[in-house]
């Protein structure tokens, strides 16, 4: 993974020194809250419902075992012994004290982690396919480009006070796993006919109260032009994005108002000025960055997989896990293991310090000391030799980290909701827990198959409910929490915005409604169709009939 050099350490340490000074000036009253808020936000610090919250970036979802241990230490020393993995490859601590946060940041910096720009109206954490570098369907590894973008965007002097937050995601694979269609800028790495690397640039995707699927801004951007082109897009947005209404300030509104053609023309004009500037990437720049992401020293496949095969034959629980949670690796003899943080009775995406340490140990014993974080709030052990899967499975099972529900109904994305978040209008996690409790029969879950269910506690849509097959949005109706249900959303290559099926329901009716939707699906399903395909074929009528019968 990317290793900081002296320069990176120096910049981060200066940033922490600056924030330490800002906190001191806030506490002494030299800065009032209005002046301090944008500063603390740009260091990942929110003032939430119950406490401050610190959001720490996990750039493009990559964590080392050492970093995960440090997160565990910080959770125990400064927080309440756990962290919450968010939907954008961040980890959030829910209970830090403002006076401690500079120290927390300094401890994170020691392991090359930071919270810069994890919130605020600036370029946020760069996210990527969590299977970067290991997926069998990869065109090129997105991580070197992500790191180039991370550095360019960090404390960018011109783009630190944008009209609104700005999110960039990069996918380098045939199949999109980074939700590039619902980002302000989505980047897909491609190869042209000459075999050269380039980027398909999408712009103006996003969720929130105006969900929009991103539009193609450029089919093929040459590799060398990545930064100059991003700079051009950001400059157009910074100059023309609306600042009079925060609900109309995202780039998607600008793109819609101008039309993609006119927007592209503005970008083009700007880009022609910038294209041959100092931002142009030379082959040596890219090679140097790629050298930070070498292929690990994989061992040749072990021929004796008899234990693995015997266990798959004899132990249905192992067989189910191997089927559901282990993905094919591009390296023969290795597998990719999904570690579910959607466990019965546990808050979605939460992990305790002891569990972090245990997983860090497993990452070292069964891989190369690396862990990935997915935007679906799960973790990944990326490089596990296939013959070691049985013993890894036993260890994960003992830690309650072997739940084989990847991609299934109980693999719910939930935002923190009104239990933690100052913006939320309704709770999310308890609803997710109630649904997961209703659907705790693994046989049934596997029969239902591929299905995404996301729950947001307000219209800001942090849980991406509007691109879930089943989306649930909590709203406040005269002091009561009620939940709207949408169907038919999708966040992958066939990205689509879900459609509301009817009036909102009280929380206690939601699990039964989901049950009705699933029953309608099973009744209408042809063969082993996925939920989304059945929905697209039959429309929402059969589902409405069940829910509002």
């Amino acid at each position: 993974m990317y290793r900081y050099d002296e320069f990176d350490h120096r910049l981060l340490s200066q940033r922490i020194g600056q924030f330490r000074d800002q906190v001191a000036r806030r506490l002494s009253g030299q800065l009032d809250e209005d002046a301090f808020r944008p500063l603390r936000l740009r260091n990942g610090v929110y003032l939430q419902l119950n406490a401050y919250m610190l959001r720490v970036n996990i750039p493009y979802g990559l964590l080392s075992s050492r970093q995960l241990r440090r997160l565990a230490d910080i959770a125990e020393r400064y927080d309440r012994g756990y962290g919450h993995f968010s939907t954008r490859q961040n980890i959030q601590f829910n209970w830090p004290r403002l006076v401690d946060i500079p120290d927390m940041l300094a401890e994170l910096a020691e392991v090359e982690m930071h919270a810069m720009q994890s919130s605020g109206n600036c370029i946020r954490n760069i996210t990527a396919d969590h299977l970067a570098g290991i997926a069998a369907d990869e065109v090129a590894d997105p991580r070197p480009y992500c790191e180039i973008i991370r550095q360019w965007s960090t404390l960018h002097p011109e783009f630190s006070f944008l009209p609104r937050k700005f999110k960039i995601a990069v996918s380098g694979a045939a199949r999109d796993r980074a939700a590039v269609h619902v980002h302000d800028i989505g980047i897909r790495i491609r190869r042209n006919e000459a075999g050269e690397i380039g980027f398909h640039i999408l712009v103006g995707g996003g969720l929130g109260r105006t969900p929009v699927i991103g539009k193609t801004l450029r089919e093929f951007l040459p590799e060398a032009d990545l930064l100059s082109y991003l700079e051009a897009v950001l400059r157009v947005y910074n100059r023309y994005g609306r600042r009079d209404n925060k609900y109309k300030a995202r780039i998607k509104i600008l793109v819609n108002d101008l039309g993609i053609g006119a927007f592209a023309a503005l970008v083009e004009e700007e880009w022609q000025r910038l294209r041959h500037s100092a931002l142009r990437l030379g082959p040596a720049d890219i090679e140097r960055m790629k050298a930070h992401f070498p292929r690990p020293d994989y061992l040749p496949p072990v021929n004796d997989t008899s234990e693995y095969e015997a266990l798959r034959r004899d132990d249905p629980a192992f067989d189910r896990w191997a089927e559901n949670a282990v993905f094919s690796h591009r390296q023969p003899g290795y597998g990719i293991v999904m570690v579910s943080l959607k466990r019965s009775g546990r808050p979605t995406g939460d992990m305790r310090a002891d569990e972090m340490r245990a997983l860090a140990r497993l990452a070292e014993e069964y891989g190369f000391g690396e862990i990935r974080v997915t935007h679906r709030q799960n973790l990944v052990l990326p490089d596990v030799p296939l013959h070691r899967l049985p013993s890894l499975w036993r260890e994960l099972t003992a830690l309650d980290l072997a739940m084989p529900n990847h991609g299934l109904l109980s693999d719910i994305i939930a935002c923190p909701g009104m239990d933690y978040c100052a913006l939320a209008t309704a709770r999310s996690i308890p609803v997710a827990q109630a649904i997961a409790e209703r659907f705790d029969d693994l046989d049934y879950l596997h029969d239902i198959g591929d299905l995404s269910l996301n729950i947001s506690g307000c219209i800001n849509s942090c849980a991406h409910h509007n691109v879930a097959n089943i989306g649930i949005l909590g709203v406040d109706k005269r002091g009561q929490e009620v939940y709207q249900i949408t169907l038919g959303g999708s966040s992958g290559d066939d990205a689509a915005i879900g459609k509301r099926i009817g009036p909102a329901l009280p929380a206690e009716d939601v699990p039964a409604a989901i049950e009705g939707i699933v029953e309608a699906f099973l009744a209408e399903r042809e063969g082993d169709e996925r939920f989304i395909d059945t929905y697209r074929r039959v429309g929402d009528q059969p589902f409405k009939e069940r829910v509002y019968a």
Binding site: L27, G29, E33, L47, N50, A51, Y52, I429, P430, G479
Partner: protein, 102 residues
């Protein structure tokens, strides 16, 4: 009986706090049961005290909330404020212990 209490977040720690008025003296405490109850006629004066605490860099974002008082116990009317008073409602062992009600 319904009344109002004034809540805020402590600046240095971020904790949820409530205003307790003791004569001329104002204290900001974590326990809602220790909060001073205000009616329509004295709420405005209490908000002046709160503004002074903001200016003194003690608290952030003070506001009044409606509470119900039954059997001597103060309970916020809105769910949002009940969560602030008692902590998250999520189940599971990573959830923090509810804030002490004593």
């Amino acid at each position: 009986m319904t009344a109002s209490v004034i809540t805020a977040s402590s600046l240095a720690l971020g904790h949820v706090v409530y205003l307790r008025q003791e004569g001329e003296c104002c204290r900001w405490l974590s326990d809602i049961q220790a909060a001073t109850l205000f009616g329509d006629n004295d709420l405005e004066a209490a908000m002046v005290s709160a503004a002074a605490a903001v200016a003194a860099n003690e608290i952030v974002d003070p506001y009044a909330i409606a509470v119900d008082v039954r059997g001597g116990r103060i309970e916020p009317l809105s769910l949002r404020e009940r969560i602030r008073a008692h902590g998250p409602t999520v189940a599971g062992d990573s959830a923090p212990a509810p804030r002490s009600a004593a």
